[in-house]
Symmetry: C2
Subunit: 105 residues, 2 copies
């Protein structure tokens, strides 16, 4: 019976949320997160899965790392990326439920 209190208009928090959402709002980046929810992968593996060039993959990954979604470690020549933001699973799950589950308009 907890009435969700209606938040004040916190422009800064809303802007931060919007920035992070926008970071996710790209077909390739959603795909990358789906892949990385399965485990850690190198830039090359991710690029191949998404069918894009390595430099583009690197750029997308950098954006998502910058807003805290991903982290990376270098191992030898390769750099492994992985999910760093635990809420991503829930968020992507919502998106899958609505947009990627059963093809509806």
């Amino acid at each position: 019976m907890v009435q969700r209190k209606f938040r004040p208009f916190d422009l800064e928090a809303l802007t931060h949320a919007a920035d992070c959402l926008r970071t996710l709002a790209h077909p390739v980046r959603i795909r990358m997160v789906q892949l990385l929810l399965q485990g850690r992968y190198t830039v090359g593996e991710i690029a191949e899965d998404c069918g894009i060039a390595e430099n583009q993959a690197s750029e997308h990954l950098r954006l998502m790392q910058r807003c805290g979604f991903l982290s990376s470690q270098r191992e030898g020549r390769c750099v492994y990326y992985q999910i760093a933001e635990p809420h991503l699973e829930q968020i992507v799950s919502c998106i899958e439920d609505r947009f990627l589950a059963n093809p509806k308009s």
Copy 2:
């Protein structure tokens, strides 16, 4: 023990999901959805809550209506907007959990 089957790369579905996400990825539009989750409101009321001009509010509302998030009816001079996509509550709830609950970086 259901291993979530790893989806094929469906560019069209991913693009649609990304388009809709991008529609939500704006501080004012997130706020509008939060407000409309409480009930239906007119353009003027929404504009005032968000602290923006009516024409801008109208534009934001149009974008969200176009991708199926909102619907509207005219009643007299006023136009009422409301949530049309049931999944929005869940999605915004995820976003609030992560970004709007307790102020963390």
